[in-house]
Symmetry: none
DNA sequence: CAGTAATGAAACAAATACTAATCATTGATG
DNA sequence: CATCAATGATTAGTATTTGTTTCATTACTG
């Protein structure tokens, strides 16, 4: 069953949608505030996010941007924006904000369901491409959040896992520390410490990759780190 | 190519930055006064604005505030502030002024480029576009910071890499040693030694370019060095 | 072709960046 | 609220890069 997270301060609307979506085999969860929303986001890892533009604390644009910034974690999460009026829409869809679709209020529930289906179909198409990755003896099943090294399952922490799949998404790309932290922790990550190094070090250990000629994560001196792609 | 607008009354600095940024595939434009700056801002619609805090007419804070006020037009425009000293910084970043980052003078050009990249990545997550230069069997993928010689990846240090892309930016141009050091290390790098020669020598070795009829880097006796462009 | 200046690159030194161990903090869990 | 796991910060030790010196070699000059 698809999990849908709705961030909207209109409680009544939330309940209505929950009931309605249930009929289409979707389980909806409502967060009335952005902070509650982020909490549920982490907990539920929903398949789709419905976001109201008008919200207390921060507006929907802001939330959308934040989520997109943490691209490795929620970069793929489809987002549907609910706008108060049809006007502002240009900014929303596909553009810098990275929402996948929008729907002006008021709307027909059926219309909403149609759009949800649309989005989910779209996103699942390219999700399949990255579901299981296998590079150089390292196998990641992202739907299970499981990593196998030479057929043995590794026990990775959240950060370690996120770092790994970020690396694997862009093999051979050299990431600077700043870049890594920004991608892993979101926009405003200011780093004064060797936290990234520590994280990499821990991941390397679990990957058994501490020799001077690394199998997976190479240090690029003066720049950052690189995940080594297929060797030819 | 990214367009960068610099508002700064230090003409020399502007020129230097323009040249430097060129190497990183950014086109810089310098406005010496705020009014000229606003004019260019409208005309160019740059991807990023670099703003000196100390300016004639109005100071950088003021400009920043004004730009942020016209949020519909330039609300998204990333702004990098150059401050004379590191003190005032709290007010600047992210706060009521809405700058995206700051950099205290004096700074290393490399540092500036790193910050620009950071900001641009944050504001629009589009570093998938790669620009690849290919000269005479030497291939540089600047987004990955990867250099291939006859299809083999080279392991270059930071300085070696910087030197190489500087050369490749201006094939057939003869650089003096002074010029090279200034471009590589920042504004008024004083050099009493043969550091440049050593650097070139090291790069040549990695490029396998030590024969008397060089493939890439030619010595111009009494002058400096030249990177050999396409042979016809 | 000798004399002189410029260059290449080896060897050493200094500066800088990285690793990993350790400690501190945070946040979750019962 | 005590415990434990995850993550951030600090730091000593180490490795790498970069700058400097030096000397043999090379290219120019008269």
């Amino acid at each position: 069953m698809k999990q849908i997270l709705i961030i909207d301060d209109d409680e009544k609307l939330g309940q209505l949608l929950t009931q309605y979506l249930e009929r289409y085999d979707m389980q909806a969860h409502v967060a009335l505030t952005p902070s509650k929303g982020f909490e549920l986001l982490k907990k539920l890892k929903p398949d789709l996010l419905i976001l109201d533009v008008m919200l207390p604390e921060k507006d929907g644009f802001e939330i959308c941007r934040e989520i997109r910034a943490k691209s490795s974690i929620f970069g793929q999460l489809p987002i549907l924006m609910l706008t108060a009026h049809a006007e502002v829409t240009d900014r929303i869809v596909g553009l810098e904000l990275g929402a996948d679709d929008y729907l002006p209020k008021p709307f027909e529930p059926r219309e909403l369901v149609a759009r949800i289906h649309n989005i989910l179909r779209r996103s699942s198409d390219d999700n399949n491409l990255r579901d299981i990755k296998n590079i150089n003896g390292l196998e990641v099943d992202s739907s299970r959040r499981e990593v196998k090294l030479d057929s043995e399952v590794l026990d990775l922490t959240t950060m370690e896992y996120e770092l790994l799949i970020l690396f694997m998404q862009f093999p051979n790309k050299t990431f600077t520390r700043d870049e890594l932290m920004n991608r892993l922790r979101g926009i405003d990550a200011e780093l004064f410490s060797r936290a990234v190094d520590t994280l990499v070090s821990r991941l390397r250990h679990k990957l058994n990759d501490t020799s001077k000629t690394p199998r997976f994560i190479k240090t690029v001196w003066g720049r950052g780190y690189t995940f080594i792609g297929e060797q030819i």
